[in-house]
Structures are given as C-alpha cells and as structure tokens.
Amino acid sequence: MPDNTLTHYLCIGCPLGCRLEVESDDGDNVVEVRGWTCKKGDAYARQEHIDPRRMVTTTVRVNGGRWARVPVKTSDAVPKGQVEAICRALRSVTLAAPVRMGDVIVRDVFGTGADIVATRDMPAAG
C-alpha cells in the first residue's frame, strides 16, 4: 500500500454515531470507507470527503419590522468553505419590513447557485 491517507468522520446518519475512516490515495480518490454499520455511513463519508456541503441559516437586519432580524437560509446546501464568508457578507445587508417568507434576499450567493431566502414573514412593527 503506497502512502494512502486516513481521514476520520463522525457519521451523522443516526445516533449510533459510527466513527468512519476514509482511506484515500495521493490523488485524494477514496479507496475505501470503513467503520460504518449501514450504507448511509459509507455514502456520507464519501460526500464529506469529496465535497462537504452545508445549509446556512443566519439572520439579516430589517428596519421597521416586528423584530430587528429576519431569519434566512440558503435555498440549497453550499460548499462548507463558503459558510463563514456568506454569513459575514450578510451582515452588511439591511432589509425594510414587510418581508415575506420565501423572498429572495440575495440571488446566487457567491456563485454557489443557491439563493438566500427569508424563512418567515416579517410584518411591519405595530
């Protein structure tokens, strides 16, 4: 066996939390996944290894609304590495009430293909 790398993941498929081990070659191709109890674990480890993605949920400032922040999410999971940058960028966005659930706040955020959408109505204060 040449210099293969071992990476470890905790499976989130169910509360068993199998400790998964991914063996990859120097081209970072997955050679084998070990440690799972069911197939979900195998698939999860491959996805996490090759292209980890996350849904982002955060809030955006809103003026004149019932509350000062409106919750938002990405319409799809985005590459994990982009999460913090997206949240940071959203700190400079200000909306005006009313906002409707599903309103697109930012289209195709950072070229990920995902939109930032509001996850609730924010009626005007009063």
Binding site: Y9, R54, T58, T59, R66, P71, R120, D121, P123
Partner: protein, 422 residues
C-alpha cells in the same frame, strides 16, 4: 397573518388552548377536525408559534411536512393551517388562572383581564430553561450568565450579541446550535463543557456545530466557579468524579465574558398545579391518559408541558391527538376508558401516555436512562421488539397494537429496554 390581533374576544368557547406553540397549534387543528366549533388559542408572546421563531436552524418537519424546514418555516406553515381552520388566536395574553370548571383568566394589554369559559381545555404551555440556581454553580453573580435560549432570542430576533468570548455549559442541542450561531456572528466560543460522559445533543449538531468550527467539547467536565464582579471575567472548569463532583486539583481557568447555560428544559406547569391535576414527578408534567387527558376530566395536555420532546414533529403528532380528543369531549363522542397502566421498568425513565386502552392502537413515547446498542424493548411478556440502539437524548416511540394485548388480562404492563441477551 402571524399575530392574532383579535378584535373581539368571546366569553364562551368550545375549546380553549393555552399556549400557541407547535403543541397548541396542532391541538387546535385536531379539535376543529373532530368537530369543535369555537376554538381559541391564547399565547403570551407577540405571535403564536412558540419557541420555533427563534430556532432559525433547519431540522424541523421531516415527519410532518416531509421536507426539512427551519423553525420559523414550520411555525408559519402550521399557523397558516390554524388560520385556515378559523381558529381564534389571541396573542400578548397571559393565562394566569384556570379552574376545574375549565374557566380561564387571562390578562392582556389589548383586552384587559378576561374570564373565559371552555367546554374543554388544552394545556400547551411548553417548557422553560433550567437556570443557574438549579445547579448552584459556585462563585459570584455577575452579568453575563444566561440561558442559551435567552441568548438565542437576543441574537436571532433582537439582533444583539451576548458577549465576545463565550463558554457553554451543557451539550444539549440548544447549546450546540448556539455555539455555531455565535461563531458565525463573529463571537469566539471557547468550548462546550458537559458534566456527563456522553454528549446530549445529536451527532449531526456535534459535527456541524462544533467540529466544523474546531470548537472543543469537554465531556465529564463542568464549570466549578464563576468569577467577576460586574461582568463575567473568567470561569473555572474541572473534570468530575464518578459522583459528578468537580475535581478541583485538576481544574483550570478560562478567560471569558459570557457563560451560556444549556442545562435542560423544565415543563411549565404553574397552571397545572393551580388546577390541582396530578403530575408525574419524573417528567414534571401532567399524568395523561391515551387521550392526552389529565386527571381532571375535560382538561388535556400536550407537547413540552407533558414531557420534553426533541423533535417538533412528534409534538405536533401528540398534540393533534390531544386536540381531537378535546374536540370529541365537546361533541359528546365517548371512547372506552383506558384499562392498562404502563409501568416504566428497567432502563425506562418514563412512558407517555401513562395509561392505554386495549381496544385501539397507541403510540407510546419513552425515554431511557442509559444508552444501549442492539437491545430489546419489552412490553410485559406480551410483545418485544428489537432496536438497533437507544439514547437518553433521543425519545423512543413504540406503537402498541390491540393484537399485542389479545392474550393480556392484567391491568399493568411493564416496559423494559434491555440488552438482547438477557
């Protein structure tokens, strides 16, 4: 559509639901579907929806809506069906008294003090967070010690941060979720400390809220002392011994300005106590029948007020059932009374409902004391089922079908969750 700024509050309702969280909303819908006509939800917050508005993360609705939603989406969608069904919702109204005639008293800035009669009453008051006093953390009493849920409200709804450098005590999901939330807001989360040898939250949250951001989780460790006169300046943390007492020789100090507590929820049962209904000392919630009826006829209870749930979908399911039965109580439809008591046995902390009837199918929710892999859930000697695993943090549910009980003639059934080889 979100608030119930009800212009006119009637004096008589068929069903009054106290609390407009997921429990109260589902109960109202259930009552309507069962034929009750005039239904009122009373909630003390600005808007119905309960705790969900501040839970902006995904993880809700997979069972009920068959898609993964955030808390606010779940609340808003559910509220839309409540409104569609013509349920009256009054918000900013606090129910401060209830009596055995199912008469409630509420106080509201908009409606003043009102006395309202109901034919059936549903309790859905949810839960409150345990605070510092409950675990008596030694030290000073500065600003900057707050519950994770209050911090969540500050951050997600009001737009403020609780501090710059935060230590989190307790590894329940709320604490884990807040660790990520604060990190994404630029707050430094120094670590999460858990007194038990295992984490209390979902693996998904451990991975996505802690590992993703390299936030350490210290198991079998607790906050042993709080320092700071005006504001938290540091905390002393220490590993614990078998009796969960801190081992001070091994303690260390962490500079921080905030301590978030995520140390559990307690059912909100002031009203239940005033009513004088029986409470289960284990759940701290009402004892309920398979109809989710309390010891007082015509008074039903559901959701976190009965026992603490981890999935809102089960809250909705259980509460819809409570609502249907409240509706049937009003329309006069009667079902046979329960005839079997469920007795929590080995490794079972509690079962809800507390009693069942042999003539229908029931879903029974329970919590175990110890995690087990490859185990059995045993219902007296009438039925058993294999489970791959059980965890204290995850509610176990079991469907009991009438055919399991055909040969059973007793009046109490013991429920055990045991390793497979015993």
């Amino acid at each position: 559509m979100i608030t119930g700024k009800l212009s006119h509050l009637e004096q008589h309702y068929d069903v009054v639901v106290v609390g407009g969280g997921p429990a109260g909303m589902a109960a109202a819908v259930g009552a309507r579907d069962a034929g009750a006509e005039k239904i009122l939800i009373v909630d003390r917050e600005k808007e119905a929806g309960g705790i969900l508005w501040q839970c902006i993360h995904p993880g809700f609705g997979l069972h009920h809506f068959k898609e993964e939603l955030t808390g606010p989406e779940y609340a808003q969608r559910y509220l839309a069906s409540v409104m569609d069904k013509g349920v009256d919702v009054v918000t900013g109204a606090f129910v401060f008294d209830a009596d055995r005639d199912r008469r409630i008293q509420l106080t509201s800035g908009q409606h003043g003090i009102r006395v309202i009669d109901s034919k059936a009453l549903v309790l859905g008051m949810g839960a409150r967070e345990r605070t510092r006093g409950a675990i008596r953390i030694p030290g000073t009493r500065p600003a900057g010690v707050l519950t994770a849920g209050l911090a969540q409200k500050f951050v997600n709804m009001m737009g403020f941060l609780p501090g710059k450098r935060v230590v989190i005590l307790g590894s329940g999901d709320i604490g884990l979720i807040m660790a990520r939330r604060l990190t994404l807001e630029g707050v430094e989360v120094v670590g999460v400390f858990e007194i038990m040898p295992h984490a209390n939250g979902l693996n998904r949250n451990i991975v996505q809220c802690l590992h993703d951001f390299d936030i350490p989780l210290h198991l079998s460790t607790t906050v042993a002392h709080i320092h700071g006169r005006d504001r938290v300046e540091k905390v002393t943390v220490a590993p614990v011994d078998a009796a969960l007492r801190p081992i001070m020789e091994k303690s260390w100090d962490i500079d921080c300005d905030t301590l978030l507590l995520s140390i559990g929820l307690l059912p909100e049962n002031e009203l239940s106590r005033q009513l004088g209904i029986s409470l289960d000392p284990v759940t701290s919630g009402p004892v309920v029948s398979s109809r989710m009826e309390t010891s007082m006829p015509g008074v039903f209870a559901c959701g976190n007020v009965v026992h603490i749930h981890d999935l809102v979908d089960f809250v909705s399911q259980e509460s819809y059932l409570a609502g249907t039965n409240a509706g049937e109580f009003v329309t006069g439809k009667r079902r046979p009374a329960d005839n079997v008591r469920l007795v929590p046995g080995e490794n079972v902390r509690y079962c809800v409902p507390h009693t069942i009837s042999t003539d229908r199918e029931h879903t029974v929710y329970m919590r175990v004391r110890q995690p087990l892999e490859k185990c059995l859930i045993r219902l007296g000697d009438v039925y058993q089922k294999k489970l791959l695993y059980v965890f204290p943090a995850e509610m176990v549910n079991l469907t009991i079908r009438p055919r399991f009980l055909e040969q059973f003639h007793g009046d109490a059934l013991r429920v055990d969750v045991v390793p497979r080889d015993t």
